[in-house]
């Protein structure tokens, strides 16, 4: 008897859920309202000639990244091209994003998203995925005219200063950048005013101000140690070691030399006064490894000692428990005014603006300041720090077998990279209070003055280069051990010499691994 009731209950719930499903499906006809204005003149030039089979193009993105505005752009595009449906898939986090792409490509690729953020699926660079045939080489695509952007080519619509960042190690175009991302300091102006402090310009000021803030009972600096302290390391490496860069260039006579990509290299000369000296530089991975193998860049010089000691001093002012603190908790310290400064990325500007509006009487005035210099000129740190501003989100196209699918995807990409559509995406994203990572790289897009003001803390002199970052910061299997090494140093358990010696060992180990994996002979004149 009782069993029968049980079965009945299950059957009833099943029936209800099925009915519910059907009903809900009917309810959820996609709404056709849209706030992204279609690029009308483009619509006329690219009218569908005959009735085409309906296809769906999928752009996979991550929670919150321009997602509302992208969805609106997708709807607007489908209005323009009824034969192509565009869907924006939102995925929880980076790990799921990468797994989703990898698993679907490993299974043949038909179900994989058509457009992906290459910065989320391939780190540190897209060469591997281009070689696997998973990402399309965009070499021709970037030179095709973009009908949505007055017929300029795709690359002509993108800030030329950052074209080089789109190339992989073999000179293929792997992605198109959409925006810039930078890191800098945020500070609470109310707290600074109360204590009579100014935004610090030098490391010495920063440390002195931090002490005053600490004495006044504040957490001086909220530091997302796990995710973002490494941006500082990169800035210091670039600042102190940039004179080595010319030795790393791919030059005529090298096996990797490709006239089309690398010709700018021949005119690059190092100059401390010119922060743009390496504009357009492309580096040879074997030359980079040579520099570390023959200890020309050994990770343990006087410059390293100085900047690591500076960071150690600064770490005394991080929030308690920084070593394992999650980013969300770090942000909450700043927005609740427990912390007076906050090291973070330009993506936080949009969020902070919205949160300040919502805070009403608890809101506070805030500003940004740049990565500081040292008070006294130091030959170890020539010129000014170039700061941190690099392409953030970069979109790539999945290499699918279905040619027509790829063509439709390319057309939607062009649509996204037109001035009008990109402008609308940035505006809408700010309106709904989502992340704007930083300034747009699509030429002609203007951000509101208020946002631009706050972004000044991220405006930099020149382009920081990652040329040496990998072999200085990288670790192979030793990430936890290398983290422990740094913490021990910060906590005074290791001298700076011992810390750097350990660190150099990790770097050498990684170099050996890379040499073995890529079968490098370390002779740039030959190809492995």
């Amino acid at each position: 008897m009782k069993r029968k009731i049980g079965i009945f209950v299950i059957a009833a719930i099943l029936a209800i859920s099925m009915v519910g499903c059907n009903k809900a499906t009917k309810d959820s006809v996609p709404s056709s309202s849209s706030s992204v204005a279609p690029a009308t003149n483009a619509a006329e030039t690219s009218k569908p000639a005959e009735k085409k089979e309906t296809k769906t193009v999928v752009l996979a993105t991550i929670s919150g990244y321009y997602s509302t505005a992208l969805k609106e752009a997708a709807e607007a595009y489908t209005k323009l091209h009824p034969e192509t449906k565009v869907k924006i898939d939102i995925i929880k986090d980076n790990a799921a994003y990468k797994t989703n792409f990898d698993a679907k490509m490993a299974a043949g690729g038909d179900n994989a998203p058509d457009i992906v953020h290459t910065n989320l699926v391939v780190q540190p660079d897209p060469t591997e995925y281009i070689n696997k045939g998973w990402l399309l080489k965009l070499n021709d695509f970037v030179n095709e005219p973009n009908p949505y952007n007055d017929g300029k080519t795709v690359f002509e619509g993108i800030d030329p200063a950052y074209h080089q960042n789109s190339y992989d190690n073999n000179g293929n175009v792997a992605n198109v950048p959409f925006d810039l991302v930078g890191t800098g300091f945020y500070y609470n102006k109310d707290i600074f005013d109360k204590l009579g402090l100014e935004a610090p310009q030098t490391w010495e000021d920063l440390l002195a101000d931090s002490q005053k803030l600490k004495d006044a009972g504040y957490i001086p600096l909220a530091m997302p140690y796990q995710s973002s302290e490494s941006w500082m390391h990169t800035a210091f490496i670039d600042w102190s070691a940039q004179s080595v860069y010319p030795e790393l260039l791919i030059l005529p006579g090298d096996a990797r030399y490709d006239e089309k990509v690398d010709s700018k290299n021949t005119s690059i000369k190092y100059s401390a006064d010119n922060p743009m000296f390496d504009f357009g530089a492309v580096y040879d991975p074997e030359k980079v490894l040579n520099v570390i193998k023959d200890k020309k860049y050994d990770n343990q010089g006087p410059a390293e000692k100085k900047w690591w000691t500076t960071l150690k001093d600064l770490s005394q002012f991080y929030e308690p428990g920084y070593a394992t603190m999650d980013d969300n908790s770090v942000y909450s310290l700043f927005i609740s005014q427990k912390a007076a400064m906050f090291w973070s990325g330009s993506w936080q500007v949009g969020t902070l603006l919205v949160d300040q509006q919502k805070l009403k009487d608890k809101s506070f005035k805030w500003g940004t300041f740049k990565f500081p210099k040292f008070a006294a000129e130091d030959p170890l740190f020539p010129g000014s720090p170039r700061g941190i501003l690099v392409p953030g989100h970069t979109l790539g196209i999945t290499a699918k077998k279905d040619q027509e699918q790829v063509e439709r995807t390319k057309d939607f990409m062009k649509y996204l990279y037109s001035k009008d559509v990109a402008q609308k995406i940035f505006e809408r994203t700010l309106e709904v209070g989502e992340f704007v990572q930083g300034p747009s790289l699509v030429l002609g897009v203007e951000l509101p003055a208020a946002v631009n003001d706050y972004l000044t803390g991220f405006k930099v002199a020149g382009n920081m280069s990652y040329a040496l970052t990998n072999i200085s910061e990288g670790v192979s299997d030793d990430k936890p051990a290398s983290d422990a090494n740094r913490l021990d140093f910060y906590q005074g358990k290791l001298t700076v010499e011992k810390f750097l010696e350990n660190k150099a060992k990790f770097a050498q180990k990684l170099a050996d691994k890379q040499i073995a994996e890529n079968k490098y002979d370390l002779d740039p004149k030959t190809n492995p």
Partner: protein, 287 residues
């Protein structure tokens, strides 16, 4: 053979499902632990991945952390739920029993993310409940960054989830205690055994099958569980909370080294299998 036909027929659906949906991917994972696999090309590299597992500089440390986690997981999954199940059985009222057993199971509804946020907010050094409580009790010198100091991080993870009354363990014990043969127990009571003696001399031996099952389930779960480490400390500070499954997760997802990840997974598999067989032998019953 014919007399076994019924047995084989009845288990055939289970076996078929497992062969298709579990063994194919499982063997693929085992196979890839001997390869360098980028999901397009596969290179047979023999035992090189395993060599890497054993030469990892912190593997020893990582195993010792795992040992602590697994031992405490075993205690946590058995003792508190057993006590609660016994205590509820001591009560008389049907209604009270129903409400209490529902109450202790209700927690299963709560998604993991809630627990994570809860414990992060308890341990937070700046606004966490634990430090505020200590300050309130006048023990300010005891406050610390629980998850960020190498002395406390591991134990802070162990203690998260207090009071450790897992719904599944509780239900298993509750059902088992309810179905214990009351006649034996009643007669021993008449012989003058007190509650404690009944518990130790009768309940505990009679619950052996449940212990065995829970030990197996806990070991399997414990060796594969890297989520609590990822969300609470990310293996840190430094190496203080690194465990093998965490390293495996990093190899698979952060660095796309599925072959190496599979090798770590295979080692875990061998360890779990060994412990399970030991468990079966050690707590021997009629199988």
């Amino acid at each position: 053979m014919k007399k076994y036909a019924v047995s084989y027929t009845l288990i055939s659906p289970s076996v078929a499902f497992i062969l298709i949906f579990m063994y194919y991917p499982l063997l693929s994972a085992l196979f890839h632990s001997f390869t360098k696999w980028d999901m397009v090309t596969t290179h047979w590299i023999g035992f090189a991945n395993f060599g890497r597992v054993f030469s990892d500089s912190i593997m020893g440390l990582s195993v010792s952390h795992q040992l602590i986690f697994t031992l405490t997981d075993l205690l946590k999954s058995i003792i508190p739920p057993l006590i609660v199940a016994e205590l509820i059985h001591l009560l008389k009222g049907k209604r009270a029993k129903y409400l209490l057993r529902t109450g202790f199971v209700l927690n299963m509804l709560v998604p993991g993310m809630v627990g994570t946020l809860l414990w992060l907010s308890i341990y937070n050094p700046s606004y966490g409940l634990l430090n505020q409580l200590l300050k309130f009790l006048g023990l300010s010198e005891w406050t610390r960054a629980w998850l960020a100091e190498s002395g406390t991080a591991l134990w802070a993870i162990v203690m998260s989830g207090f009071p450790f009354i897992s719904g599944v363990s509780f239900l298993i014990f509750y059902a088992a205690i309810g179905s214990l043969n009351n006649e034996v127990i009643e007669s021993s009571r008449i012989d003058g055994a007190n509650g404690w003696q009944v518990f130790t001399k009768l309940h505990i031996p009679m619950l052996t099958p449940q212990f065995k099952v829970l030990i197996i389930l806990t070991i399997i779960g414990s060796l594969q569980d890297f989520v609590k480490v990822i969300v609470l400390t990310n293996g840190g500070p430094g190496t203080a909370t690194v465990i093998p499954a965490y390293t495996m997760y990093g190899a698979a997802f952060a660095s796309s080294e599925y072959g190496y990840a599979s090798a770590i997974g295979t080692c875990l598999f061998v360890v779990i299998l060994g412990l399970t067989l030991l468990n079966m032998k050690f707590l021997k019953t009629k199988w």
